[in-house]
């Protein structure tokens, strides 16, 4: 309100700012702070890579074993990307891919977590269920594609199934691992404090296995995208994987790279989403072990 009363405060603030500046002065004097140095190095490296790519494709670099003759330069890719952003097609492709990934992933999460908790808690269930699961596990989800097309009435369902298969095993195995690695002393303590069977499960087993489950979900999300894109390339009509493959068949080479980048971004975003949800649900969990 009063400019005269604010003056001393302002003076103090300036003094503090000066002190702060001089305090970190020596570090600036010797170059950059660690964070800034890392940022500058990362950005420079990215720019250099882009320039190298631009040069390789512009000059039709042919190394004999690998050729850049048909690789679109980054400038063309940027133009194609901009065009896709403005086209009404993009939304349709995104919707189709996201719907497939999330329905396959959610079913895998449900089945994987429930089955994992049951197997982790019961020796008998483990003895009965693990042998067939161990037989199916080494089969890559992508290898299921032909059979999936034959087994399901629509190509849509077969793609969701492939996504499900890809996400299931990381989620299942991490859940089993999480349950089996709970400190038995925690369970003993809960029982000595009056905890019954149900309480042991909800108060100790579930939260104890949660970090491992979230790890499984995060890995499963990655494999779900990987499997989906492959499945779309073979039997899709919409979707980012389909878009990428279709661009190849109609020789829109710049769009291939755009498709690749979109897939990468979506995969990254989905994994970040899973991790963020995990952190919100487990504020007590510190992966680095710091308070």
């Amino acid at each position: 309100m009063d400019s005269t009363q604010q003056a001393p405060g302002g003076g103090i603030a300036v003094g503090m700012a000066a002190g702060f500046d001089s305090g970190i002065g020596p570090r600036w004097g010797s170059g950059l702070t660690a964070g800034a140095a890392r940022w500058v190095a990362g950005a420079t490296s990215l720019v250099v890579c882009l320039l190298a790519w631009q040069w390789a494709s512009a000059s039709h670099l042919n190394l004999g074993l690998v050729t850049f003759e048909n690789v679109p330069p980054p400038t063309e890719v940027a133009q194609a990307g901009w065009a896709l952003l403005q086209s009404p097609q993009l939304l349709g492709h995104l919707k189709a891919s996201l719907a497939r990934v999330f329905s396959g992933f959610l079913v895998a999460a449900l089945v994987g977590i429930l089955l994992g908790l049951a197997i982790g808690r019961s020796r008998r269930l483990e003895n009965w269920l693990m042998p067939p699961l161990e037989m199916l596990r080494p089969i890559p989800a992508v290898a299921w594609i032909p059979l999936a097309i034959l087994m399901f009435p629509s190509s849509e369902l077969s793609m969701v199934f492939i996504t499900f298969t890809g996400a299931l095993f990381p989620i299942l195995l991490n859940t089993v691992h999480g349950v089996e690695n709970i400190d038995p002393r925690l369970v003993a303590s809960a029982r000595s404090l009056g905890g019954g069977r149900r309480a042991i499960f909800t108060e100790v087993v579930l939260p104890g296995a949660a970090p491992s489950i979230v790890t499984g979900l995060s890995i499963g999300m990655g494999t779900a995208w990987f499997c989906l894109v492959t499945a779309e390339m073979i039997s899709g009509q919409f979707g980012i994987g389909y878009y990428t493959w279709a661009s190849y068949t109609i020789q829109n080479y710049a769009d291939i790279v755009v498709g690749m980048l979109v897939i990468g971004l979506l995969g990254m975003g989905s994994s970040a989403l899973v991790k963020t949800i995990g952190q919100v649900l487990m504020p007590w969990h510190q992966p680095e072990g710091k308070p």
Partner: protein, 277 residues
Amino acid sequence: MSVGQITIDKLHLRVGQGAQAFEAVQDVSLTVQPGEFVCLLGPSGCGKSTLLGALAGHLRPSRGAISVDGRAIDGPHAERGLVFQHHTLFPWRKVVDNVAFGLKMQGVPRAERRRRALELLALVGLESFAGHYPAQLSGGMKQRVEIARVLINHPRVMLMDEPFGALDAQTRLMMQQLLLDLWARIRTTIVFITHDIDEALFLADRVLVMSPRPGRIIEQIAVPFPRPRDASLVTSPEFTALKRRCLQLLHPANAELPLERLTPLGAPTMRHLQFAI
């Protein structure tokens, strides 16, 4: 105070599985009076933690019987609280919710159990850490929370397995004093395992000395020092005399090498034991 009487009759305990099984505790008979503070003193691996595990209900006797207030022990129960050497606080629960766990199991409403948990935290001097997670506390603080979590159930007996064994010397002395203060307020029978003679004599009404494996009680020593006790006690001549006697019992001329430590849940490798009982 008339609850918390422990009766052990010709107890034998076997731990381990198959060919590795061995007798950890042999023919132990013992009565602990209500409200008594008893220390079990013995060399590492002598079976004293195994005996404690049987009292808690995590291990079954192979022969003999144990009962508390005339009722045979047939599994863990909130009436017999157990404190481990290394804390077993739930990392996902804040300190106050860890302490309130026992009340939650009894179905006490949230506000009420929070109020009582804060009361107990105040008793152990940690009310200002109620909102912290266990990982944010020091080792000594974690053990104080662990003790508060057991005491909130008003157990008939509190079973403590070298609870201060992993703490530094300074913190250990502080915790011993704190435990005696707590015990003076919340009177309960305490069975306290230790291999530290000073600790046993400072805390206990009675010290039971155990032999190396298989564990048997070879001597009972009444500790006559008046309460409240303070740190100066450990330098008195009477204390030193009792300590000398304990040393002779624990380290006879033909002493063997120390054995692997056992736990209240059986042999250290038996990960799934508690699910079996």
